[in-house]
């Protein structure tokens, strides 16, 4: 490029406010960064669903995950643990003096801020629905079909109105945007979208709503079930619930705890129950069966039961437990046994483990899952849902 002929003209001072406020490239690229973070979080699914700190109560529809900024990598020299290159500083001090940072980040200029975003963290809020969607994608699962019994003739679903909650798949985008516009027109400083705007297509059956589902979570709270085991059970319950909710939209839950007798609890109380006493599993099965029969007509409801225990049961109770499970098995869509064994090597050799195995051998709709530590939850959940989708196939 050749020198241009030079001519002088005075500098200009432009002060009229132009279109600068329309710029938000920084925000745009920041949002893109967050999208990428979500993708990496997705790869972390197994860790994500097993971290018990991630578990909020099922009624909360989001979980909060602390994440780091992504680093855009560049070639860098190895950081020696000690005695790297000398750097230049300024101020009082004698050779040999040792200084420390009063607070991080002092004196650092952000000119090369593109790398080394290690120390700032932020919290990403993820929708449980999204996570469940990812699990589905990850496992390549078809959508579960509600099992239809003879009493439930499978009729076409018809759309009937909208609901503020529902599975992502049934999000009605047009309707949601409409709601947002309605809201924005009356608010002072409106946000583009809020959860309140969401509208989900509701599916309904005329006559008998076969998309109703009830799930009974039955937990052994005898002395041997310590805090850790209950947490594992709770995690499994949570994700199983989410998966069912994805399928049925509306899932009712029943919470039962048992020692040598059984009680029904509210969800809040359920996970704080501790008790002492022996283990008579049949007490729990009996109560579950009663509740199903009283309140949830099998002709109206898809029924699920999950039982979590360390596998112990009184030998004397074997017969009645077996009989009750068989009765239940004939009625429900599925029964899952979540074993949190004292010794992982002994899993499925326990009293309850053997019982469920025997039922499986007799073609009852049952599944057993061993969860010894957090990392096992992902596998257990995967097994459960894959089993479910095979059932459909």
């Amino acid at each position: 490029m050749s020198e241009r002929t030079e001519y002088r003209y005075p500098s200009r001072m432009a002060t009229e406010n132009r279109w600068y406020d329309l710029f938000s490239r920084g925000s745009r690229d920041w949002l893109r960064h967050n999208e990428k973070v979500r993708e990496t979080v997705k790869e972390e699914l197994p860790n994500l669903i097993s971290g018990s700190d991630v578990l909020s109560r099922p009624s909360d529809r989001t979980v909060q995950v602390p994440v780091r900024f992504l680093e855009h990598y560049r070639f860098r020299l190895r950081d020696e643990q000690d005695e790297g290159e000398a750097q230049a500083g300024q101020g009082d001090g004698q050779p040999g003096d040792v200084l420390r940072r009063a607070k991080p980040g002092e004196g650092e200029s952000g000119s090369e801020g593109g790398s080394g975003g290690g120390e700032l963290r932020f919290v990403l809020e993820l929708k449980v629905d999204d996570i469940v969607d990812w699990i589905w994608e990850e496992l390549a699962l078809p959508d579960l079909q509600p099992k239809t019994t003879d009493a439930l003739t499978d009729e076409d679903l018809i759309q009937e109105g909208w609901d503020k909650r529902g599975p992502r798949a049934r999000l009605d985008r047009r309707r949601t945007v409409k709601e947002a516009i309605k809201r924005r027109s009356v608010q002072e400083e409106p946000t583009p979208f809020s959860n309140e705007d969401l509208r989900f297509r509701q599916l309904a059956r005329r006559k008998r709503p076969a998309t109703n589902a009830v799930v009974c979570f039955l937990l052994d709270v005898s002395a041997s079930m310590d805090e850790t085991r209950r947490k594992l059970a709770k995690s499994f319950f949570f994700w199983a619930m989410q998966g069912l909710r994805r399928q049925y939209g509306d899932v009712e839950a029943v919470f039962i705890a048992h020692t040598n007798q059984a009680w029904e609890f509210s969800e809040e109380e359920f996970f704080q129950v501790s008790a002492t006493g022996g283990t008579v599993a049949s007490s729990g099965f009996r109560l579950a069966l009663d509740i199903f029969e009283d309140r949830y007509d099998p002709a109206q409801y898809n029924q699920y039961l999950f039982y979590a225990s360390d596998g112990d049961n009184f030998g004397d109770d074997r017969r009645s437990a077996e009989a009750l499970l068989a009765e239940m098995g004939a009625m429900v869509n599925f029964m899952g046994f979540v074993e949190t064994p004292q010794n992982p090597l002994e899993a499925s050799k326990s009293e309850m483990g053997r019982l469920f195995k025997a039922l499986a051998a007799r073609d009852y709709p049952v599944g057993s899952y061993t969860v010894h530590e957090e990392g096992d939850i992902w596998d257990a959940i995967r097994q459960f849902f894959q089993h479910q989708s095979e059932e459909v196939a």
Binding site: D29, L77, A86, P95
Partner: protein
């Protein structure tokens, strides 16, 4: 802030600067909101290609800004005309100071040899060019999808500093080069040629020239440090729009180099001149002058807040002190000559002497881990040579490790070599591996890199 007054001071300050011997292309000033200023500082250009890494910088800047940590006073882009941005919520005295400061920069970038060389190579309208390229990249996103464009930018921006400024920006390709199997832009040659070069036996043909049996010259013939250039011209399967992205990033990188390599001189020069011009600007109201000088001392102070020690040097401060001393002891003509001939390397080595270093309490220090894993900083000594090298060390090779292309295999594989002897140690292996992943996504053949591991043994990273 009163824009009218500022608009009135500006030509007067310019006249004053010219009377003092400064010489610059005209400056287009714009007064903009702080949000826009923040973006300009983050992107390095008013309009620049989109990339998520800028988003991270933006958030950092935003957080600092919200915590009152950093204020951006001025951003100026050398060119003809220069473009300068002032923030509309700075006070009139502050922006008067900034205006004078910008004139110092404008003089520097027109007359400094390194700046002038780069300016003439990239043209005098980088702001418009960058905006035009950003627009082309937006079009590429529409045409090829965000993921593919992002992959090209991931690689190109990661190698931003790996250029070779000893060559001109427009370089000829290596003479006896291998026939490249590039998928040209379909508009140029049509699909036929691309398919033709894939015929069996085609590759073997290429290894001998015209069947005479002479072996072709190796690519590259010597270590090639300009990774952006090499990838843009030799990546076997690079598409036209990807090449465009690499050359865009490279051109901007050439443009930024003088700013990087002359930072102490340039900021010092601009600070010296804003102080001097304001001092001599008799048309400024007294109170405005006093307020502006207070802003000046905020800009050129060595320490943050009320501290008495800093773990980095403030280039505004050190540069300002150096120029003051040079002009005091050697006169203005010498200073004008130096600002034309030197860069930070020669400037610091020739002109930062023991007396000044002592006067400013400069020191070099090393970092070590304390017992609890916390960082400790041990003041080394006030030896002037060690100090100069400590200041200059981060500036070698554009601040990046020296990595070069050593060889391109007949299968199109790329062999990179880290020059660990010059750099004194090996690469951070985890990061290097990630960078290889970026490169491989556009190179599309195996990519290898040789460096040293922690024990000083050769380690070859690979991505295929």
């Amino acid at each position: 802030m009163s824009n009218a007054e500022l608009a009135e001071f500006t030509p007067k300050l310019e006249g004053l600067a010219q009377d003092q011997g400064l010489d610059f292309y005209p400056v287009d000033f714009e007064v903009v909101p702080p949000s826009f200023m923040m973006e300009v500082a983050v992107y390095g250009l008013p309009v620049r290609m989109p990339h998520w890494s800028f988003g991270v910088r933006y958030i950092y800047q935003y957080i600092q800004h919200r915590m009152g940590g950093s204020r951006i006073f001025e951003v100026v882009f050398p060119g003809n005309p220069n473009r300068a941005y002032l923030v509309n919520n700075n006070s009139l005295p502050e922006n008067t100071l900034v205006t004078a400061h910008v004139l110092g920069h404008a003089d520097f970038s027109k007359n400094n040899e390194l700046f002038a060389r780069m300016q003439s190579q990239v043209g005098y309208h980088i702001v418009e060019q960058a905006a035009e390229r950003a627009h082309r990249i937006d079009e590429a996103i529409n045409e090829h999808g965000q993921k593919r464009v992002e992959a090209a930018l991931d690689a190109a921006l990661a190698l931003e500093q790996n250029i070779d400024i000893n060559f001109p920006i427009n370089r000829a390709e290596f003479p006896e080069r291998m026939e490249r199997r590039r998928r040209e832009d379909p508009h140029e040659h049509g699909e036929f040629q691309g398919r033709f070069s894939d015929l069996p036996g085609e590759q073997e043909e290429l290894d001998t020239e015209g069947g005479s049996g002479s072996v072709r010259a190796p690519i590259p013939p010597r270590p090639e440090y300009d990774l952006l250039w090499f990838i843009a011209h030799y990546a076997p399967d690079l598409e036209g729009w990807e090449q465009d992205i690499f050359l865009s990033v490279r051109e901007e990188s050439f443009y930024f180099y003088p700013v990087f390599a002359c930072q102490i001189m340039n900021e010092g020069w601009a600070s010296y001149w804003h102080a001097r011009l304001l001092r001599e600007a008799e048309f400024l109201p007294q109170q405005l002058y006093l307020d502006a000088i207070k802003a000046h001392s905020d800009v050129v102070r060595p320490y943050a807040g009320d501290k008495s020690v800093s773990l980095s040097i403030n280039p505004y401060h050190v540069g300002f002190q150096m120029w003051e001393k040079i002009i005091e002891e050697h006169g203005l003509d010498t200073a004008l000559r130096l600002r034309a001939e030197e860069d930070d390397f020669s400037f610091v080595r020739n002109w930062l002497d023991e007396n000044l270093a002592e006067e400013l309490h400069l020191f070099s220090y090393k970092t070590r881990r304390g017992r609890g894993g916390e960082e400790q900083y041990v003041i080394q000594d006030r030896d002037i040579h060690a100090l100069r090298e400590a200041i200059l060390h981060p500036k070698f090779n554009y601040g990046a490790p020296r990595v070069y292309v050593s060889e391109m295999g007949t299968d199109g594989s790329l062999m990179l070599q880290h020059d660990h002897q010059t750099d004194g140690k090996g690469l951070d292996v985890d990061r290097a591996q990630k960078v290889l992943e970026y490169i491989q996504r556009v190179w599309r053949r195996p990519v290898r890199l040789s460096t040293l591991d922690g024990k000083g043994k050769e380690q070859i990273l690979e991505r295929s």
